[in-house]
Each structure stands twice: as C-alpha cells, then as structure tokens.
C-alpha cells in the first residue's frame, strides 16, 4: 500500500479547486446528480394560480430526477417577509425563495449571483424594464431572477361608464384593446379634472393615502411624473427642490377630491371601493376586477385597466416585481439555477399568466403579449394594456433612484404619502420638506 503525504498547501489548493468545480459545474442530470431542492414560493391569492407553478416544477423535477419540496408561503400577515428574515438570520432554509420588491437588495450579500441565469434569459426573452434592473441587479450582479408570479402593475382601473358620464372621458377609446394607446390628452391635469368631476358626481377616485404599498406606489408614480426625487442615485438628499414642491401642490389639489378617510386606507380599501360600485377609478392590478367578476359582475363589466396619466417629466406606471433567488448557503445551487431557468421559459411564464387570470406579469419584454391579456373579459380586452405592451409608460417604483437601503425605507415608511397628507392638511411646505429631509437623514445610517 502506498501512502502519500499531502502537504497543507496542496490540501488547501485541492479543496478550493474541488469546491469551485462543485459550485460552478453546470447542473447535469445523472444517476447521482439529482439530490434535493426546497422552494419557498409566494402563495398566490388567485385561487388555483399556484397549480401552474407547481406543474412547471414537477415537470422539471421528473425530468431531472430531483426531489423537490415546495412551500407556498402567504404574504398575509407578512409571513413571507418574516420567513425571509428568519432564513437570512439562521443562514438556513429554502434553496429557492421568492423575494418581494426590495428584498434582493436587502440581502444582496447573502444571495448567489444569477448572472449566468438572467443574462441568457434576457437574450432569449428580451430586456427587462429599468425598475426590475434597479431592484434586482446591484453592482453588476443579478441578485435574483425576475419572477413572473406575483409581479404586478398598479396602474388605473377605471369604470368605463362613470368616466364617460361624469368626466367625459372614454377610456376604451383612449386605450383601445389590441392597438396602441391614443392617450396624449391623458395628463395629470386631465386626471385632476376627472377626479373632481367624479367626486362631485358621487363616485370619487379611490386612491389611498396610507403607508401601505398601494398608496405608496401611486404617490411614487405621481412624484416621478414631476421628476420629483427625494434622494438621488448618489445618495444625496434632494427633498428641497421645485419638482418636489410641484408634486406636493398637485397632490394637495388631488386630495381634495379623494375620499376623506383615504389617509386610513390600506391595500384592501381601494379594492372594496371599486367592487362596491362607489369608485370611478382605483390604482391596482386586476385583482380588484377579478373579485368584482365574482362578487359584482355588473361592476366588472365596466372595468378597464389602462395606463397612468403623464406629467411634466413623463408617464410613469408603478411596477412591483417579485424575484426568485438562492441563498449563498444553499446546498444545491446548480440545481436551483437549472430550475429557475425552466421556470422562466416563455411557455412556463404563459402558463403562470393564464392561471392567474392575467394578474402575473413577466418582466421580460417579449413576454408581455400573451393572448390572456387580450382575451380576458368582461369586457373583452379589459387587460390588454395592463402589461404595458406598447411601452407607453416608464415602469417605475417609488423612491427610486435612491440607493436601495435608503429607498426601501422611504418606501416602507410611506414618506411620500405622508408628505402629501401633511401638506394637504395645512402644514406649510417648508415644514413638510424639513420633516421629510430629517426622516430621510435618519435612513442614511449604516
């Protein structure tokens, strides 16, 4: 028997080489390559929508002979958020986890680079919008893969009849099904006039002014429409500028036509406002329309989802993407990447979109023209413009382009809606700006 003495230097070099080979190796199916993979995915609120994802994963698992464990985790009561925080702290958990909007950046140091997955997907499926890139790619590293499931737009969902009767606006003519928008006249001024007319007609626009996501997203898009940025990309506070003042002046006028209790609204309030027949317009993905289809079909028949009004700086629609990411402590990273590639194929994305009734939005350019959006009804074509098929508006997120750790706090603490409400309630402009600047100063700490 020949024994061979291995020097310390050789041992370290061999171990490092072996580890690198293991991590970097492509996922190859073989009798011993299978292993296990656990996933924690967002539990869809559209009944049956999880099934499409489940089918895609099962097909991949059968083909690759991998034992997959699948957990659908609800975002109700922040369960998904808490699970993510717990896994990050414990450095243990699912191999693939669904990360909501800001979380890839929050956990950037603990996530595996997905460049080798996302870059080929971009080549295949087309570019992703700027918001997805801002949220998912930091320092040239894709932190996670843009997910179809859960990604959404929060543009206007208008009542065709009420907008026509009370504001004289034909939203179907402005955003015709199957054709590019003819919405040059759909500006923030027109929006304000329509809000006033509908409020006087007893059907006010249902826009929340609380600190939950729906309220913040609308505020973010309106601020962007004025070019109003609270913190720039370099991290400098830019609260005290004329564009922010203009946005606040506009909001003050708008708030006068919104329901009085809008500062107390949460993400369910606007849905109820539309479904009950009280509102002429809300800012929401088609979930409110889907509920109306079930509970108030007459209301659903009059709903039309379309683009955001444009402001002096352009037309911005709020986009909230979800991501699928893999922790650096995951033990089966190559299998995870293989599965994520399978989940992002056009056929898989289309299945997910169909199962969600058009709610889910793929982030890739070539995947925004599936038949579902054109065919969903009533009325037919109601969701045609939901995925922004004609790139009519810039998809945006509130608080961008601030560095993520600052932007996330501006977003989650609803700084923009709070500024709007403070100013509208009679606080002076300077005091509101001072308050915001001081709050944001507090977000700068490392």
């Amino acid at each position: 028997m020949v024994s061979r003495k291995v020097s310390r230097r050789r041992f370290v070099a061999s171990t490092a080489a072996a580890s690198t080979a293991l991590v970097a190796a492509p996922f190859v199916r073989g009798a011993y390559a299978a292993g296990k993979l656990s996933l924690g995915l967002w539990d869809h609120w559209v009944p049956g929508a999880n099934k499409a994802t489940e089918d895609v994963i099962k097909a991949w698992a059968d083909k690759e002979k991998v034992e997959v464990t699948l957990d659908f985790i609800t975002s109700q009561g922040n369960k998904l958020l808490l699970t993510t925080a717990a896994e990050a702290q414990a450095k243990s958990g699912h191999d693939i986890l669904a990360f909501s909007t800001w979380l890839p950046a929050r956990y950037s140091e603990q996530l595996v680079s997905m460049n080798d997955v996302v870059e080929p997907l971009i080549k295949q499926n087309g570019a992703v919008n700027g918001t997805v890139e801002y949220l998912g790619k930091v320092g040239g590293k894709w932190l996670a893969v843009p997910a179809t499931v859960g990604s959404q737009m929060k543009g206007p969902c208008s009542r065709i009849d009420l907008m026509k009767q009370l504001a004289g606006i034909d939203v179907q003519a402005m955003y015709p099904a199957g054709s590019p928008p003819k919405a040059d006249a759909w500006t923030l001024d027109a929006f304000l006039k329509a809000a006033e007319a509908c409020q006087k007609g007893g059907h006010a626009f249902g826009i929340g002014l609380g600190t939950t996501s729906d309220s913040v997203d609308t505020a973010g898009a309106i601020f962007h429409s004025f070019g109003a940025v609270l913190v720039d990309a370099k991290g400098d506070i830019t609260v005290k500028n004329d564009k922010v003042r203009q946005a606040l002046e506009y909001y003050k006028k708008l708030i006068a036509f919104l329901p009085e209790d809008a500062p107390a609204w949460d993400d369910a309030s606007n849905n109820k406002w539309l479904v009950s027949g009280k509102g002429a317009l809300i800012m929401n993905p088609p979930s409110a329309w889907a509920v109306a289809k079930r509970d108030a079909p007459k209301v659903a028949e009059q709903c039309w989802t379309h683009g955001f009004p444009s402001g002096p700086a352009g037309r911005f629609g709020p986009f909230l993407p979800f991501f699928w990411g893999t922790w650096s402590f995951s033990k089966n990273q190559s299998a995870a990447k293989s599965l994520l590639t399978a989940m992002s194929q056009p056929e898989a994305a289309e299945k997910m979109v169909i199962a969600s009734g058009g709610y889910d939005l793929p982030s890739f350019e070539k995947l925004t023209t599936f038949k579902t959006w054109a065919e969903e009804s009533p009325p037919k074509g109601t969701l045609y413009h939901y995925p922004n098929p004609h790139n009519h508006q810039t998809l945006s997120i509130a608080a961008a382009p601030a560095p993520h750790k600052i932007a996330e706090q501006i977003y989650t603490q609803g700084i923009q809606t709070q500024m709007a409400v403070r100013f509208a309630k009679g606080e002076t402009m300077d005091k509101t700006l001072d308050w915001a600047a001081k709050e944001i100063e507090g977000f700068m700490r490392n």
Partner: protein, 308 residues
C-alpha cells in the same frame, strides 16, 4: 496501599449517601421539578431577550458593535418621540379605563345572586378569551373607513359619519377603545376574586358604624383590594405597552404614524424596513422604565404583605 484500598469504598459510600441526602432535600426536589420550566424560560424568554439586547447594540448592517448608538440615534428622531407619546397615552389611558370598568362590573357581578353569577362571569369574559387579532378584525369592520357599521347606525339618526381610523384623534380613541374592550374582563375577574375574599364581617361592622356606601368602598373594599389592584394594573400596563395586534390590524400605525406603539413601530422599522438593530432598540426602550415601575410596585406589595 491497604489504607487506600480501605478508604476507597468508604469514600464512595460517603459520596452516595451525600447524593442521596441531596436528592431527599425538599429544595433539590423542588428545583428538579421546576427544571423543565426553568429550561423553557431560559430558551424562550431569556435567550430571545438577551439576543434582542445584543441586536440592539449592532449597527444597521449588523457588522459592528455600536453600544448605545442606536438609542442615541432614536433620541434625535421626531417620529420616535411621537411613538413614545402615543405608547404612553395608549397604555396609561387604556389601563385606567380597564381598571375603572373592571371595578364597576366586578361589583355588579358580585351582587348578582350566586345561582346566575356563573353565566354572567362566562359571558363577560368572552372579549378577553377571543384571540385579539380575530376580535380586532371584527372591530376593523365596525370602524372600516368607508363601510363602518357604526357610521351606518349614526347615519340612521342623522348624525354625520365619524372618521374612526382616518383622523388622528379618533384613530387613537379607536385603538384605546378596542384595548379596553379586550382587557377589561381580566380586571373584572381579578377584582371579583378579590371582592369575594373580603370578609363579610368587615362590611357588617362598617354598617353598624353607620358607614355610607361610598365609605364602605373607600375604607373597606379598596384597602382590602389594594394588592390585587396594584398587581393587576402593573401586569396590564406591561402587556398593554407591549401590544401589537390591535394597532397592527386596526390602523397599521396610520394616519401619519400617529397610532404606532413600540411594538408596531419596531416591526415597521426592523422587519419591514430592514433595520433589525434599530427595531430591537425601539422594542427595548421601555424595559428599564417598566422594570423600575415594577420594582417599586412589587416592593410596596411585599412591604404591605409583611405588615399584614
């Protein structure tokens, strides 16, 4: 060699007997019986509490120790002081009202003939027994910004709708009201137990001396219930300061953060905004203040106990 051999078994026997004696001591048995609970407390209370203190002393990125830096930072924040004010207002007002309502209702129940008393006791405990997150959901529907059942009733009487959760004053009133509704039965049951332990002879003696209704309460009932009142108030104050579910479900801290209490603000800052050390600092802020209050109240109770 022989000595050693002889000493060995004796020493072992001595060891066994001292272990035997130790095991027969009441204090040892008590300790062993309490051990599972001690371990449970260490795991579920002491460790998380210690970990929270550790987290509160880290920087935002959780990469370096900053001592009391997070607290220092909080002291300079306007929103934080608003949360301190709101938490104190919420806890103190709610405890006062729970104590008053609990005291009054306990007297009513105490005066019901014992045959029907159990039914009333059971019914009155219902708000306390239902999980608060669930009952608060029912309150949320009653206060709903747009479809409030209360406003619907008020409209029936021609009264203007009230922005229950939409305006700061009303929103604060609403969260306190729900807390009082949930917590008053606890006071009621504690006070009822205390009332039942007041010797009837004291009231008889007071009646013979011509004491009025008020004098009987002031000079007999209250002194006899003093310890229970103090303990209940202290316990409730701590629990109310730590309340999370009512504000979280009912207002989420809105409008304009004016209904946030420590726990909900800590959640907003720590979990939702990703600053766990700052969230931990917010949640720990009241610990020293409540600890001092608890020490004084418990010392007073012990002192009175030894006087009796």
């Amino acid at each position: 060699m022989a000595d050693i051999a002889a000493r060995g078994p004796v020493a072992i026997a001595g060891g066994r007997s001292s272990l035997h004696k130790l095991m027969q001591r009441k204090s040892t048995i008590a300790f062993l019986m309490a051990l599972p609970l001690i371990l449970l407390i260490l795991t579920l209370v002491a460790y998380p509490a210690g970990y929270a203190v550790y987290l509160a002393m880290l920087n935002k990125g959780m990469t370096k120790f900053v001592g009391f830096g997070n607290f220092d930072f909080l002291f300079g924040r306007e929103t934080f002081w608003m949360v301190v004010y709101q938490s104190c207002l919420f806890a103190i007002t709610a405890v006062i009202f729970k104590a008053i309502i609990g005291f009054v209702v306990a007297h009513f129940v105490h005066n019901i003939p014992s045959k029907g008393q159990r039914k009333w006791r059971g019914m009155l405990l219902v708000p306390w027994v239902i999980p608060p997150a669930m009952s608060t959901l029912a309150w949320l529907w009653l206060f709903d910004p747009s479809y409030s059942a209360f406003n619907w009733i008020l409209a029936g009487f021609g009264i203007d709708r009230i922005p229950w959760t939409g305006e700061t004053g009303w929103a604060r009133f609403s969260v306190i009201l729900v807390n009082v509704w949930i917590g008053a039965p606890f006071f009621m049951i504690m006070y009822l137990a205390a009332l039942k332990s007041v010797p009837e002879q004291l009231y008889e003696a007071a009646s013979i001396d011509g004491a009025t209704w008020w004098q009987r309460i002031w000079y007999v009932t209250l002194p006899m219930m003093r310890n229970i009142i103090a303990i209940t108030a202290l316990f409730s104050l701590i629990v109310t300061f730590a309340n999370f579910d009512i504000v979280r479900v009912l207002t989420k801290g809105d409008p304009l953060n004016t209904t946030h209490v420590f726990a909900t603000w800590a959640f907003r800052v720590g979990i939702e905004s990703g600053d766990i050390p700052l969230g931990a600092s917010v949640s720990l802020f009241m610990v020293p203040i409540l600890a001092v209050a608890a020490t004084f109240i418990l010392r007073d109770i012990t002192k009175r106990g030894s006087e009796v």
